[in-house]
């Protein structure tokens, strides 16, 4: 593909290229000028189709290859966030479970690049730690299908922690109501 052949590039993007794909792509990935053009064409296309995200980055390819590098090998195709949400929305029952919806929206396994040196090494005196436990049966109404997918179980676990933390938190000297405010408002986040 010649450096200035915009028509060919356009055809390639639209899936209407009739030439040798392998050769064209090979040339493309070794040509920064054409690669930049490629990404601009995609941006234009997305913009026309109103598929643009709120924030645009012009370094998509760099981000993608970064992300791929940090990605563990995935054997099964990952569900999208949207799909993840579906079972949870119908499942939002207990206060705790309602939190799951929120959490699945915002959950991210991001790599924390902030390098931090421990500010303080603590030799905690051995205080008897708190122990608590949960009822055998997860809190679920009969009408709601109990789901045993690992994701939902994991979400339930996290929610229980949050509820429990809130309970203690609400005794703090400030913002005692805030934990419950969070609880009450969760549904609109789904």
């Amino acid at each position: 593909m010649s450096e200035y052949n915009n028509e060919e590039l356009s055809a390639l993007i639209d899936g209407e290229f009739n030439g040798n794909y392998d050769k064209a792509f090979d040339e493309l990935i070794h040509n920064q000028y054409m690669k930049d053009k490629w990404s601009r064409y995609h941006l234009i296309g997305d913009s026309l189709r109103e598929h643009l995200p709120e924030k645009i980055t012009n370094q998509v390819s760099a981000h993608v290859s970064n992300a791929l590098q940090n990605e563990p090998t995935v054997l099964a195709p990952q569900k999208t966030k949207q799909l993840n949400l579906k079972p949870l929305a119908g499942f939002a029952i207990a206060a705790s479970v309602a939190m799951a919806a929120v959490f699945s929206v915002q959950q991210s396994n991001e790599t924390n690049s902030v390098s931090t040196t421990p500010a303080l090494a603590v030799n905690t005196s051995v205080t008897q730690p708190q122990t608590f436990s949960f009822p055998d049966t997860p809190v679920l109404p009969a009408s709601v299908r109990k789901s045993d997918t690992p994701e939902e179980i994991a979400n339930q676990r996290l929610n229980k922690y949050l509820m429990n933390h809130n309970e203690y938190r609400s005794n703090g000297s400030m913002n005692g109501i805030l934990p419950y405010v969070r609880l009450v408002t969760i549904e609109s986040q789904e």
Partner: protein, 324 residues
């Protein structure tokens, strides 16, 4: 310039109104103490706005105190008509959309000793308190108070406190960059002599609702072989909360819970034994000002939960070690 408004007033009018004289400006830490007492001991009924990201909700809170106890009812005025009712024994959460009431044990007042008044002293080493000016919220004159963390391991707050009743009128939780993560603001707040008990009753007709209770008092025996856990890293000023041992709940799963606080922020560490490694729970989650971080090690999942930046929950969760 600590009090720019004041300076301006002096400049413009030549003399300070007596109320603003430097010696009558409230001490920020005393103000926080008074706020804390006011929120527990007064009777009040108010409507406030809660905002998180793009979401805005309105809620009503009714608080009654008597016999040294607090009774509180929180009702959502927007969206689903959820309610939370708290007294000294129980927290009842009504979820009308699911015809469910979830009852949790109330820990109201149980931890007071570990927060007041001692922490006010110790937290001043890790947060800078300053009076930032005056404002008007819900028709009431308020002091604005800034609480800025000294490092990146905690969040800051900006508080608006009613000059008269000392109740909290507005609160913003801020990250290191000063970005507001969530806020509440009263639109109306009335301090009352009496609160009718009827106002503390749920408006939800709970007929046909399913009740889920988690309030039993049986103890779980701790096995001799159980591992002990401790957090080996935490931000300066954090220490394990000295709360009294609570009655333990019965159940199949027993989860160890360690609480750490710097007097203002609180981080819970949960350690739970799992038969197999969960494939999707590791990592960070966030809801408003609350961050969580989970790691899996040696058959145990360790989860840190707290109103602190993600860095802090991550570092704390990663630092948990077992010993015998």
């Amino acid at each position: 310039m600590r009090y720019p408004l004041l300076f301006l007033a002096t400049f413009l009018f030549g003399n300070l109104p007596t109320a603003y004289a430097a010696d009558s400006l409230p001490n920020p830490q005393v103000l926080i103490d008074e706020m804390s007492t006011a929120s527990r001991t007064l009777n009040y009924d108010g409507v406030f706005i809660y905002s998180l990201g793009k979401q805005i909700d309105t809620m009503r809170i009714i608080h009654k105190s008597g016999d040294g106890n607090s009774y509180e009812r929180l009702v959502s005025l927007t969206g689903l008509a959820r309610e939370v009712i708290r007294d000294k024994d129980q927290v009842r959460c009504y979820f009308p959309e699911n015809k469910a009431v979830v009852v949790e044990k109330s820990r109201l007042g149980k931890l007071i000793s570990s927060y007041l008044p001692h922490p006010i002293k110790s937290i001043s080493d890790f947060y800078i308190f300053e009076l930032a000016g005056e404002d008007r919220i819900a028709g009431l004159d308020a002091w604005i108070l800034n609480i800025r963390p000294i490092d990146k391991y905690r969040y800051g707050y900006q508080l608006w406190i009613d000059k008269k009743s000392k109740l909290l009128l507005k609160s913003e939780l801020k990250n290191q960059l000063g970005v507001t993560l969530e806020q509440i603001m009263f639109a109306q707040l009335n301090v009352l002599d009496e609160i009718d008990d009827a106002l503390l009753e749920p408006s939800t007709e709970a007929e046909g609702f399913t009740w889920y209770k988690n309030t039993t008092n049986e103890r779980v025996e701790t096995k001799e072989s159980d591992k002990q856990w401790k957090v080996t890293w935490m931000p300066a000023g954090f220490s394990m909360s000295d709360q009294p041992k609570e009655p333990l709940l019965s159940g199949r799963m027993s989860v160890e819970h360690l609480i750490y606080t710097d007097g203002l922020a609180m981080v819970s560490i949960y350690v739970e034994q799992l038969n197999q490694q969960p494939d999707n729970t590791a990592g960070a989650s966030n809801f408003g000002g609350v961050n969580t971080y989970a790691v899996f090690t040696d058959g145990y999942q360790i989860t840190a939960v707290g109103e602190v930046p993600k860095t802090t929950v991550k570092l704390m969760a990663d630092s948990v070690k077992s010993y015998h």
